[in-house]
């Protein structure tokens, strides 16, 4: 297991109207085994930040360090789960989950053992040999999470993984994810715009500002673990939610105003 650190990470895109600063000097560090959530208004660059962490995007300035070593290329130490599932439609659910193990040339029997365990854990029993097209949205994302975990990454990067699911499925998935995290204790960096989701899942919440993206506030979530769904209705949960909503609302207003000013 590992920690991940952003050191003055900045990102700008050249456009016809000149440089657009997407991220502005972001420094934060997620210690080993922590579940960190990043929330912010849409377009604040939170997904870009995650892609930089994965090594898929090169920042214009700054570094990402994993255990103190720069991580500029993608690697199996940082697994990623996308909103769009991105399962390989031509592989069975099992072969999808084993994809990383196959690359690592793990022996077949061992691959099979690990994927079977994850299929059971992610409640995909009976679906090992079907193609992803037969799965529901929630099952697809469970398979995608299983694929990332099977590869045993040090850090799990999740980019709005439940964003495309309906509200009821999302709740179930959040509970499953806390259970899984409790079990594997990976360092997680989780991007979302769903405030309840961030509070329910996270140890700490980073609230980002609108463009250029900065970390505006850091909030420790002191809810006890293991967490269960009934906590969402607890008074302390509401307090935390109010805090986050206040900050985000301010930021969203600013975003609208700056859009108006530009128009």
């Amino acid at each position: 297991m590992s920690d991940i650190q952003f050191v003055e990470v900045a990102m700008s895109f050249p456009t016809r109207k000149g440089e657009v600063r997407a991220l502005d000097e972001i420094s934060l560090s997620v210690p080993d085994g922590q579940f960190a959530c990043i929330v912010g208004p849409s377009g604040c660059g939170k997904s870009t930040l995650l892609s930089i962490a994965a090594g898929l995007v090169t920042p214009t300035h700054g570094d990402v360090l994993v255990d103190g070593r720069p991580a500029s290329d993608p690697g199996p130490d940082r697994g990623m789960v996308f909103q769009s599932y991105s399962l390989y439609p031509w592989l069975s659910v099992r072969r999808n989950i084993e994809f990383g193990l196959e690359i690592k040339r793990t022996p077949k029997a061992e691959r099979h053992r690990q994927s079977s365990e994850l299929i059971h854990l992610m409640k995909l029993d009976g679906f090992a040999d079907v193609f992803p097209k037969a799965l529901s949205g929630g099952m697809k994302q469970r398979a995608a999470i299983a694929r990332a975990i099977a590869n045993d990454p040090q850090i799990l990067l999740m980019d709005e993984p439940f964003g495309a699911l309906d509200a009821l499925t999302r709740q179930v998935m959040q509970e499953m994810l806390t259970d899984i995290w409790q079990r594997f204790r990976k360092t997680v960096l989780f991007v979302t715009h769903d405030i309840d989701e961030a509070i329910f899942l996270g140890d700490v919440i980073y609230i980002m500002t609108n463009r250029p993206g900065r970390i505006r506030t850091t909030l420790q979530v002191d809810l006890p673990r293991p967490r269960s769904f009934d906590m969402v209705s607890a008074p302390h949960f509401a307090e935390l939610r109010n805090q986050v909503v206040g900050v985000i609302h301010e930021e969203s207003l600013k975003a609208v105003e700056s859009e108006l000013a530009r128009a």
Partner: protein, 294 residues
């Protein structure tokens, strides 16, 4: 409690059955994209086919010129065409023309696909390859393959290579751009997932990029195969010793419209056969593709 639930259930079921709503004709058949009953689909298909034969027969009867024999009519009756086809196969060696044409199609098409598919994949994935090849290919694409025939005859003569080149030109420039688009559309996330699972560039290319393009590439081959027939017949009409196009040309000299129509229908059937072979291969090789092919 339980019984009451049961009772309500049966009630809703039966009332749903009795109150099944009838839609108006317009509501059923004239709402865009609404599916219509399977039986109606089948009946309409048969009626459409029969209607064409009926119109054809009618035209044949109207234009009938009693001073010449049935097989010399400019619009021969369908049954005369059937007789002509049997005669062509039995006495005129038509099947060897069919074999020649099929050989040319397969060879010309294979030569085009063999280069167009890899090049299209490279163009779709590497901007450096695309920037180099796309402008000239885009330009040549609008030059009709048939316009090259006289030039090809000058350069290559009247042999087989000229026919294959016409098909090659007709297929290659279209196919390469279609494959390029297919490769270009592979979602970046699909590749990125593999990178974060520790895959190298080569592994991503081989195990993600290529399989992601296969089903659509087969679709593109299926479509361009249809076009290949057009170019082949044009090439054979202009100059050939054998082949369906050549057969049509000779039939024209003898005023045998019945043989021309029989030959054209043969091409149609051959096209249908190749198309359903592609469709069958697609279903067999890519059972995971969500969209079902007709």
């Amino acid at each position: 409690m339980n019984e009451r639930v049961k009772a309500t259930r049966t009630m809703t079921a039966s009332s749903a059955a009795t109150r099944r709503r009838r839609r108006s004709f317009a509501g059923t058949y004239l709402t865009p994209k609404r599916t219509i009953p399977r039986r109606t689909v089948l009946i309409l298909g048969i009626v459409g086919f029969v209607a064409i034969i009926a119109v054809w027969t009618l035209l044949a009867l109207i234009t009938n010129d009693s001073s010449v024999s049935l097989s010399l009519q400019l619009i021969p009756r369908p049954d005369v065409v059937v007789v002509a086809w049997i005669d062509m196969v039995e006495h005129l060696g038509f099947l060897s023309d069919v074999a020649w044409s099929t050989f040319r199609i397969v060879a010309g098409f294979a030569l085009a696909a063999l280069i167009a598919v890899p090049l299209g994949l490279l163009m779709g994935s590497f901007e450096i390859v695309r920037s180099f090849f796309q402008p000239p290919i885009n330009a040549i694409r609008y030059m009709p393959a048939s316009a090259f025939i006289p030039l090809l005859i000058l350069v290559q003569g009247l042999g087989e290579s000229e026919k294959l080149t016409v098909i090659w030109i007709g297929v290659f420039f279209q196919l390469v751009l279609m494959v390029m688009d297919i490769a270009h559309r592979v979602p970046a996330e699909m590749l990125n997932v593999a990178y974060t699972l520790g895959a190298s560039r080569w592994t991503v290319f081989r195990k993600v990029f290529l399989p992601a393009t296969f089903p659509e590439v087969v679709d593109a081959l299926r479509i361009t195969m249809g076009w290949a027939w057009t170019y082949l017949i044009v090439a054979e009409l202009v100059a050939a010793q054998a082949g369906i196009g050549n057969f049509i040309l000779i039939a024209e000299r003898f005023f045998r419209a019945d043989r021309i129509i029989a030959a054209i229908i043969t091409i149609g059937v051959l096209g249908l056969i190749t198309d359903s072979l592609f469709a069958a291969y697609h279903r067999w090789a890519f059972p995971y593709v969500e969209k079902l092919h007709p």
